[in-house]
Amino acid sequence: GDSVTQTEGLVTLTEGLPVMLNCTYQSTYSPFLFWYVQHLNEAPKLLLKSFTDNKRPEHQGFHATLHKSSSSFHLQKSSAQLSDSALYYCALSGEGSNAKLTFGKGTKLSVKS
């Protein structure tokens, strides 16, 4: 079945350093990939969604590139901010008309000064 793997459970960074959160997936079709972010005591919300034309989505300084050859959609940011501390989930879309998302286990990003 479909699956998403996020290898790091916790990433701790110093403010100003680059961020890279890993996401790989397994699927028998060509899914859309997503990143959702959940700040403390808040609901998860969409951060990025992959495009069909290989453009690189960007939002709030974050970007991710879908590499179908390696089944990856890593999340990156050039300079971490304290406010980036949150739980990040990678997800893939369902096949065809199935709208459900399959999520990874999440990566907690902790940015320190």
Partner: protein, 112 residues
Amino acid sequence: NAGVIQTPRHKVTGKGQEATLWCEPISGHSAVFWYRQTIVQGLEFLTYFRNQAPIDDSGMPKERFSAQMPNQSHSTLKIQSTQPQDSAVYLCASSRGHERLFFGHGTKLSVL
């Protein structure tokens, strides 16, 4: 737009009791999803409805979990004979279909 509303925010039950969780999706959204969130497993899909019809319940534990959507303005997730391993945050989300999911703040279920 109040977003997705989930009630209660916290629920404490004793082992073996029943728990019913409520979700009010965003008006106009045709799809409603239920997920379970734990530190160990992350966000686990449970079930989803489109236009009130059940579409995919592949994530639901078969014996004690059930979900319904009697009208377009609310869905319920019922857990019978709750067990300590059911303790988690249960998240409801809605969407217009193949677009972004809008999540509620969740119901934190604690089974003692």
